[in-house]
Amino acid sequence: VPISEWRFNAGSSHPHAKPTRRSLAMGDIISIVYTAVIFAALIGFVTFCRKV
């Protein structure tokens, strides 16, 4: 096994599941919306900590 594949078993190489343009766009939307939701929760957590 090449050393580059040692640590994480070749990371994201999934040749059997070639992504389509549509699935990539969906992935981008999910990732960005998910990040926004997490940071909205963190801002809410600031308010919570202020009120403790």
């Binding site: 050393i3 580059s4 594949e5 040692w6 640590r7 994480f8 078993n9 070749a10 990371g11 994201s12 992504p19 990539l24 992935g27 981008d28 999910i30 990732s31 960005i32 998910y34 990040t35 926004a36 997490i38 940071f39 963190l42 801002i43 957590f45 600031v46 900590c49 202020r50 403790v52």
Partner: protein, 565 residues
């Protein structure tokens, strides 16, 4: 164990603990605004970015500024990773990263974790490494030290409404600390043989007629900030075991020093900021005692060798050399590993998956303690302050005194927030790790069965939540579950911990500073250091004891009865 091994370990600690003192005094001067030799550059940055350097920030404003900057940087890094095929400095024509892996990587580098679920030399262009990842190594490190500075200011006076200005702190730490040290260390690495180039990868032709692609790029500078900023994200997958990232034993020593020194310098800076150096030395002492004990334990575990190898006729003399660089041997490898997990660096020059069960358990336990030995740049300091508050609270309960720390009364609000921050970390590690092991996807990520497999998953969630970033080599991390799950753990482990810490700082800053009396519990003596270590181990570590028992401890006893996984 050898004399040379002990000498190497002693040398690392002498250089780190000795170097931390002047560096800490220097950091205190930066945080107090006394360093001015780059004042024109500083003013230029404020003018371009529209920063009013005299504007004070309350803790809420400081926190929101930190969160906003972080979310903007996550989106920017995400865009770079998704669009790298259109961006310059991509001689290998590397394509875009997948959306979920880009999310994981952006969260990882914005939180100072540097968890790498990708193979850098195959999946990230030189340009994305330098202008995406390396930039975030500076920003996340500076943000951590800025928050530490804000916590220090809380103890400097009475009735304070401001914790400083986040953007000013960020700018000064980058200009006066991170950039100068990175440039000097980077030049030393270049001189030692580490590449710093935008040239395409080299191709070597072997004696047997084959060819081999050798990754090169702007490695040296990234290596320097990778260690000094306790980041840990390697330019290549083999990280600091690669001869280009870590060419000689001298660069190994330098990198070990870089990744540890700031964590120990910050308590010294704290002592200087509040005008009570002994208080800083108490925190520094607690950090050092735990780390030295961990280093001795890991060295002993690895130096004894693997009993199954020895039974098969392998010499016991070199110790357990599986997964270690022959160039370095046991002591430099274990010292580096303990340093990188005692801080939030997560860089490796040897591979934890191949350590003896107890040798691998100690680095994981250091992370589970909350990364306070000495922890990440900034995060180690403010986490140990949380433990110090809990210690005076415990001491107050035992002897019936009103708890106070450095003249600030510690009341129900601060203790609730402190426990909240500790429990957030525990929640993500244990619930996240447990849930992953219940799913088919999670089990499919493991390379080993039994206790070793449990250790791999537990290590991954511990590393992500504590913003360390190292991994046991066996786990396949790029799955939807782990990309999104560990990314979430990194974000909450970083920011949901920082928020209560800044709330505590804001609350304490506003309180009057009480004069010391005969009833004040001293927090600068050996008794307090012992109490603090006890609280760190009991509150920080024992929560994970059942899981650690089923993982590395069970594997240890199984190994000595001849069973491997």
């Amino acid at each position: 164990m050898t004399l040379a091994g002990w000498a190497y370990i002693a040398l690392v600690f002498i250089l780190v603990l000795g170097g931390a003192i002047p560096l800490g005094l220097y950091i205190a001067r930066i945080l107090k605004g006394e360093m001015r030799f780059l004042a024109p550059v500083e003013r230029g940055i404020y003018a371009i970015c529209g920063i009013d350097q005299k504007r004070p920030m309350r803790w809420q404003q400081y926190t929101v500024a930190l969160l906003l900057l972080s979310v903007i940087h996550i989106v920017l890094l995400y865009a770079i990773l998704r669009l790298q095929q259109y961006l310059p400095f991509n001689p290998q024509h590397i394509g875009p990263m997948s959306p979920r892996l880009a999310f994981n990587t952006a969260a990882s580098f914005a939180t100072n974790t540097n968890w790498q679920a990708y193979v850098p030399e195959q999946q990230i262009s030189n340009g994305a490494q330098m202008f995406g990842l390396a930039v975030h190594m500076f920003i996340s490190a500076a943000a951590g030290i800025a928050v530490a500075g804000a916590v220090m200011r809380a103890f400097t006076g009475s009735g304070l409404q401001s914790l400083g200005n986040f953007y000013v702190d960020l700018t000064r730490i980058t200009l006066y600390l991170l950039l100068p040290v990175t440039i000097v260390a980077g030049l030393f690495l270049v001189w030692s043989g580490s590449p710093q180039t935008f040239a395409p990868f080299a191709t070597a032709h072997t004696l047997l007629g084959g060819s081999q692609t050798i990754a090169v790029g702007p490695m040296a500078m990234q290596e320097a900030i990778k260690e000094f900023g306790t980041n840990g994200g390697g330019f290549v997958n083999a990280n600091s075991a690669h001869p280009f990232e870590n060419p000689t034993i001298w660069t190994n020593l330098l990198e070990n020093w870089l990744l540890l020194v700031t964590g120990f310098a910050l308590p010294i800076a704290f002592g200087s900021m509040i005008g009570r150096p002994r208080q800083g030395f108490a925190l520094y002492g607690a950090m050092a005692i735990i780390l030295i004990a961990a280093c001795i334990g890991t060295y002993a575990a690895e130096a004894q060798g693997n009993p199954l190898h020895i039974a098969a006729g392998v010499s016991a003399a070199p110790g357990n050399m599986e997964g270690k660089e022959v160039r370095f041997g046991i002591a430099p490898s274990t010292t580096f590993n303990v340093g990188a997990t005692g801080t939030s660096t997560g860089a490796v020059d040897s591979f934890t998956d191949s350590y003896m069960p107890l040798g691998g358990a100690i680095p994981m336990f250091l992370m589970q303690l909350g990364e306070v030995t000495p922890g990440g740049v900034g995060s180690g300091f403010y986490t140990i302050v949380i433990f110090a508050l809990l210690s005076v609270f415990v001491a107050g309960l035992m002897v019936g005194r009103t708890p106070e720390y450095l003249g600030k009364k510690v009341q129900a609000k601060e203790i609730k927030l402190a426990m909240l921050s500790v429990l957030i970390l525990t929640f993500f590690i244990l619930v996240g790790g447990g849930f992953s092991l219940l799913t088919k996807s999670g089990l499919g990520s493991l390379a080993n069965a039994g206790p070793h497999g449990l250790s791999e998953m537990l290590y991954a969630w511990t590393s992500a939540t504590e913003n360390n970033g190292s991994a046991m080599a066996g786990i396949s991390a790029d799955t939807p579950l782990l990309d999104y799950g560990l990314g979430t753990a990194m974000l909450f482990g970083r920011f949901a911990f920082m928020i209560p810490v800044l709330a505590i700082a804001g609350s304490l800053a506003a309180k009057p500073k009480l004069p010391e009396s005969s009833g004040t519990f001293p927090t600068d003596n050996a008794l307090f250091v012992a109490l603090l270590i006890g609280v760190i181990i009991i509150l920080g570590g024992l929560q994970f004891m059942p899981a650690d028992t089923l993982g590395p401890l069970a594997e240890h006893f199984a190994l000595f009865s001849g069973k491997t996984y």
